[in-house]
Symmetry: C3
Subunit: 140 residues, 3 copies
């Protein structure tokens, strides 16, 4: 019998960087008792992203950050909107270039991630933030 569940997850960030929460999601999926279905995560912000990336070598995330810092430089004079500082508008652009929601099939009571895939909040602001993720699962 198909059914659904929802959960609000809060990820506290300590400024720009990657915050993995794969385990938090996986534990919740198992707790719902849904073995096969669909998991959806939506980040309720416009200056951070949800990212699925390699969770093995941390150098991958450092390189991602280096690349994006060069592509969308803080304080770029092309930006007019900088009420909250030089990282304000770059955070919005990084968010547009990545994603704020993820959809992952659930199999065997687990998100069907690849061996090397982890789920991250990618904080784009320099200050700490409490980031809210709306999680939803449907299946049986």
């Amino acid at each position: 019998m198909l059914r659904q569940a929802a959960l609000d997850i809060v990820i506290d960030t300590r400024g720009r960087g990657f915050y993995e929460f794969t385990d938090k999601v996986s534990v919740w999926v198992r707790q719902t008792g849904i073995a096969t279905g669909l998991l959806t995560l939506h980040l309720r912000h416009t200056s951070a992203s949800l990212l699925i990336q390699e969770n093995a070598d941390p150098e991958v995330r450092r390189d991602l950050e280096r690349f994006f810092s060069r592509l969308v430089p803080d304080g770029d004079p092309v930006f007019q909107h900088n009420d909250e500082g030089p990282d304000d508008m770059p955070a919005h652009v990084r968010t547009a270039l990545t994603a704020v929601n993820l959809s992952i099939p659930v199999l065997n009571a687990r998100p069907s991630l690849g061996v090397w895939q982890g789920i991250y909040v990618w904080e784009h602001r320099r200050q700490p933030h409490a980031r809210q993720v709306a999680a939803h699962i449907i299946g049986e």
Copy 2:
């Protein structure tokens, strides 16, 4: 009892820019009577995007446009495909760099957007277009 509904939405654009349709989506979600569930939007085009971004300061969207215009310049000589003009291929690239579908949990009969999040069609072509969005909701 879980159930679903679908809707075709047409957004008429007046050329390159952002067209918010959060209200149109929210009204439909409420009309379906589904209080908890999952909302999906899919844009049926390859030269425009679906974007969730800040709906407060309009300068944010202008800066996004300025950044993308610089990153993917119209008429860039790297592009061979320009049957429909200098904005043809840049529109495809912008689409690849952003998203054409969105997945948003529904809570309390509303899409669980953040306070500052709006849903936009981002038109990348300079000419007006009628953009089709396939909407789907499942829940109860």
Copy 3:
């Protein structure tokens, strides 16, 4: 009566490039007998993408590749992580800039794609890979 189905799809790539599998997905959707619903595809890798793009003029894909090769150059000295060669880290960045999952409403027993939309695995590595896609459908 709502129900769901899941399928593992393997796409064998021959190195960097675009591999359309729209037909494979459409055939499976029809076989499930679900006429209205939601289709989700998730790529279980961090160095390739799922992309919806124009399936008419192949020049569009060649231009996409040219643009991304320039934006994220192989061997870029900004990258430290290059255990698997000069295309290793660029593949992760391209994946972050695009998408690894897609959500498409199903109508009339077909994914509600636009006339020109095809579904591709975009292989970012130079070597051939067997890419796994987790597919899920729910509806009736």
